[in-house]
Symmetry: C2
């Protein structure tokens, strides 16, 4: 199955999700791991579309999501960089573009390794808090914790 | 907002619905009205995309669906004919294409005015029964009723 750029934009406008998770992680220098991911969920009957999207972006993994749903999940930073370059050159037409632009700022900060410093990590958490999928009460706690650690460390 | 054909295909692969409703209608010669419709639902923040799709297909109406959802609904046969021509020239990539092909058979039968004769109407009901959104127990009753009427009339 060959996908054209415009088809990928249209399909992502409808089904794509840009998430930024921030998880507690003892081995990370600031105590937290930043996990940006680009996700598309489909009924298993259309798993072939997810595999075609995986080939299109040159990475990611297609797995079962839950019940009869399959999921393409892209987490590797090098692949996410390509995803971001693609949607910068071929802009989303829905309001999802606003989410994408926040997501892209996070990916760029990570490529510059800013997430390994308290100040960069705080910038990322603040961007993540503005995203649709954000668990804001939890992220506020994360923010306070990082600030506390930076003062103590 | 300018939409390209491939974007429209990608977006429809994700969000488009092809329905065929068959409703009791005393004034129709066979006692039933066939209502094919092409529907796309979006959050109200992306109502502009629905208006752009309406312009793209040259018809349909954009209205509130429920709560914060808006809906483009195309019901006019002349516009549905254009919709069908478009998706025939630019095929859907997901299994939704199977639904579309059944939908297109119904639209073609209606353009040939077959739905006004019992035999044509029965063919349409049988196609509608094979569609994902079908209420099969109800359509089986409709089928029996049309057959009964044809025998009596």
């Amino acid at each position: 199955m060959d996908l054209s750029p415009d088809w990928v934009v249209g399909f992502t406008d409808a089904e794509g999700c840009f998430h930024v998770q921030i998880n507690r992680h003892r081995q990370m220098s600031c105590g937290y791991q930043v996990l940006p991911e680009f996700v598309i969920v489909q009924h298993q009957r259309d798993a072939q579309v997810l595999h075609a999207l995986k080939r299109f972006f040159g990475g990611g993994s297609v797995r079962r999501n839950h019940a009869d749903r399959m999921c393409l999940r892209i987490r590797r930073l090098a692949v996410l960089e390509r995803v971001c370059e693609f949607f910068l050159a071929h802009p989303l037409k829905t309001r999802k573009n606003v989410q994408f632009r926040k997501f892209r700022r996070v990916v760029r900060l990570m490529l510059q390794r800013e997430h390994l410093q308290p100040e960069g990590l705080l910038r990322i958490v603040r961007i993540a808090m503005q995203m649709n999928s954000a668990d804001r009460p939890r992220l506020r706690e994360v923010l306070r914790d990082i600030q506390q650690r930076a003062r103590n460390g």
